[in-house]
Amino acid sequence: MAYDLQLSHIGKVYDNGTPAVIDFNLDVDKGEFIAFLGPSGCGKTTTLRMIAGFETITSGDLLIRGSRINDLLPEKRPTSMIFQNYALFPHMNVRQNIRFGLEVKGMAAAEADRKVDRIIDKLGLTDVATMRPNRLSGGQRQRIALARSLVVEPDILLLDEPLGALDANLRKSIQNELKLLQRELGITFVFVTHAQSEALALSDRIVVMNAGRVEQISPPRELYTRPQSLFVSRFIGANTLIPGVVKDLAGEGVTLDTAFGILTGEKHDRLASGDKASLILPAEAVDILPANVAPEEARKTYGTNMIPCQITRAQLIGHILQMGVQLPNGDVIAVEGHADKYRGQFAAGAQAFVAWQAPRSTVIKH
C-alpha cells in the first residue's frame, strides 16, 4: 500500500547557503495526525513549506500516494496549508473567504453554496458569515482559516503553529475541536508546533527535529519512555542523564560504569564496550525505596539500579505525593506517585533509594 505522504531523504539548502533541513525521512499513513516538534529554527516550517510546494526541494523525493511531486506547483497539490497568521483575505468577508477556493475552481454556484453553508455551520461561523475577518477574534479567524482550507477537501492539511497566536484557554478548546474534526474527516494532518503539550495531546506520531535533522519519530508515549537521542531526552519530558562508560553488552541490557556504580539500561544505537554514554532515566520510571529496604528483595526487581538519595521535598497534593530527591552528585529529580504506594513514609530530609527497572531506562551513546 502506498503511503499518503512520503518524504525520502529530503534536504533543503537556502540560497544563502543555510542548510535548513537535512536528510528528512518520513512515511505518513492516510488519516494520521503527525506533529513536527522542535526548538525555534530547527526547520519545521521549511519542511512544511516544501510539502505545500512553496519552497523548492534541494535534494530527495516528495511523494504523495506513491507519485513523486517535487516539481508540482502548489495549486496542483492535494495539500492545503493553514498559516500561523491565518493569512485570511482582508478584502473579502468570511463567507467570501471560505467560498473563494470553490469559486475559482468553477464549481456550480448551488453546490458551492451548499458546501460553504455546511462548513460554516460545522465550525460555528454562521453569525459572522458576512463580516470582514479583521473584525473577528483570534479564535474565530482560526476557524475561518480552517473552514477555508477544509472546504476544498484536501487530502493533506498542513498547519503551521495554528494555535500559536491564541491564549491558553482558547488553545485548549480548539485543540479538542481540531482533533475531533480530524477523526471525523479522516484527513491526514501535518501539524507544526513548538509546544510539547500540543504535540502530545493531538498527534498519533511526533517528529522531533533539531538543527534541521530528525531526531526521533515516535508515538507520544514512546518519546517519554524511550527517547532515542540525548537531544530528545533533554527536550521532552523530565529525564535524568547519568553519564558513564559502557562496560558490558553481552546480557539483556547494557551495563554502564558510572559515578553511582554499575547501572543497567536498555541498549540503543551501535554501542561498543568502552564508549562514553549516558543512561537516560525518565522520571516516570523512578521508584523510591525506603533506606531500610531489604537489599536482597530489592535486587530481584532492580538489579544494581539503586542509588542512595535524600528526600529534599515531599508534598502531598490530594492523593499524589510530589517529591524532590537529591542524588549524591547533587542532581535533583522530581518524582511523583500515588500516596498509597509510598504509604506516607517519606518526609523531607529522609534517606532513601532511587531505583528503577533496567528496561525502563535507555543507554545512549554520546
Partner: protein
C-alpha cells in the same frame, strides 16, 4: 535659547518658501481677470473681467488676438498622458512583481530601469530624435517617439512606487490562495491586485502628471506643429507675444490638476481608512 533664534528663522523660511511656491500662481490668477482684448499682461488691472476665459473657449467675437492654439495640444497631451500612465503602471507593476524574487542580474536590471528617470530629459529627447531621424529613418510623432520617451521617464517612478508597496506586502495570503488550488494568475487578479490597489493608484498619478507637463523630451522627440503637446504649445506662444489668455489657461490647468489630486485623495483616503481600520482591529484582537 537656541529655539529663540531658530524658530523665527524657520518661520521666515517657511513663509518665503510658500511665497515662492504660490506667489507666481497668485499673480497669474489675478492677471487672468484682466480686461480684454486690449488689456495687457501687466498690472494694473484696468477692469476686472472674465474675457480671457471666454476667449479660450471661443466664446468671444474674433479680435486681433488669435485664440490659444491649445485645443488640439490639450487633447494630445491628455491622450499621451493617459497612454503613458497605463503603459508605465502596467510595466511598473509587472517589473516590481518580478523583483520580489531575486534573479540573476536583478541589480543590473534595477539600475537599467531607474536610469530612465536619472538621465537628463534633453539628452533622452535629443538621442531619440537622432535615432529616429538617422538610424531608423522614421517620422517623429507625439504618439510614437515622444510616447516612448515618456514611458522610459515615468516607468521608473511607477516601478519604485510598486516596489515599495510590494516590499511591505505579506505574501502568505498569496500562498494561502495557491494552496486552495487557485492559479497564480487568478491569485494575482483576485487577491494581490485588490490589496496593492492604493499603490497602483499612486503609480498612475505619478505617471500621468509627469507625462502631462513633460517638456524637454517632448521638445525633441515629438514632431512638428501638428505633433505639439500642451507644454510645447504654451511655450510656442511665448515667442510671439504674451496675452492674459495664457494666464487664464494656466489657472484652468491648475484647477484640473487639483481636481485630479482630489479624486486621487478621495480614493486613497477610502482605502487608507480601511487599512487603518484593519490595523486597529488587528491590534485589539
Amino acid at each position: 535659547m537656541e529655539s529663540r533664534v531658530l524658530k523665527p528663522m524657520l518661520a521666515v523660511y517657511v513663509v518665503a518658501f510658500i511665497l515662492f511656491l504660490y506667489g507666481p500662481f497668485f499673480v497669474l490668477w489675478i492677471l487672468s481677470f484682466q480686461q480684454g482684448p486690449d488689456g495687457g499682461p501687466q498690472f494694473p488691472i484696468t477692469e476686472w473681467s472674465t474675457y480671457w476665459y471666454r476667449q479660450i473657449f471661443g466664446l468671444t467675437p474674433p479680435s486681433r488676438i488669435a485664440p490659444l492654439p491649445v485645443g488640439e495640444a490639450l487633447v494630445r497631451s491628455l491622450i499621451l498622458a493617459f497612454m503613458t500612465m497605463v503603459t508605465s503602471t502596467v510595466l511598473g507593476v509587472m517589473s516590481a512583481q518580478a523583483f520580489r524574487r531575486k534573479f540573476r542580474g536583478s541589480g543590473f536590471v534595477f539600475y537599467l530601469i531607474v536610469l530612465g528617470m536619472m538621465v537628463p530629459g534633453v539628452l533622452t529627447g535629443l538621442g531619440t530624435s537622432l535615432l529616429a531621424n538617422n538610424v531608423f529613418e522614421i517620422t517623429r510623432h507625439w504618439y510614437t517617439t515622444a510616447f516612448a520617451t515618456h514611458v522610459a521617464y515615468t516607468f521608473p517612478f511607477a516601478f519604485l512606487v510598486m516596489l515599495a508597496i510590494l516590499n511591505r506586502f505579506d505574501s502568505s495570503v498569496e500562498e494561502a490562495a495557491w494552496s486552495l488550488g487557485v492559479s497564480p494568475w487568478k491569485t494575482f487578479r483576485k487577491v494581490t491586485f485588490p490589496l496593492i490597489f492604493p499603490g497602483v493608484l499612486s503609480a498612475m498619478l505619478f505617471a500621468f502628471t509627469l507625462s502631462f507637463d513633460e517638456f524637454p523630451r517632448s521638445l525633441f522627440a515629438a514632431g512638428g506643429t501638428e505633433d505639439q503637446t500642451l507644454p510645447l504649445a504654451i511655450y510656442g506662444t511665448f515667442s510671439v507675444e504674451i496675452h492674459p489668455n495664457i494666464f487664464a489657461f494656466g489657472v484652468l490647468t491648475t484647477l484640473f490638476s487639483f481636481a485630479l489630486l482630489s479624486v486621487y485623495g478621495i480614493l486613497m483616503g477610502l482605502s487608507v481608512r480601511r487599512a487603518r481600520k484593519l490595523a486597529m482591529q488587528e491590534e485589539i484582537a
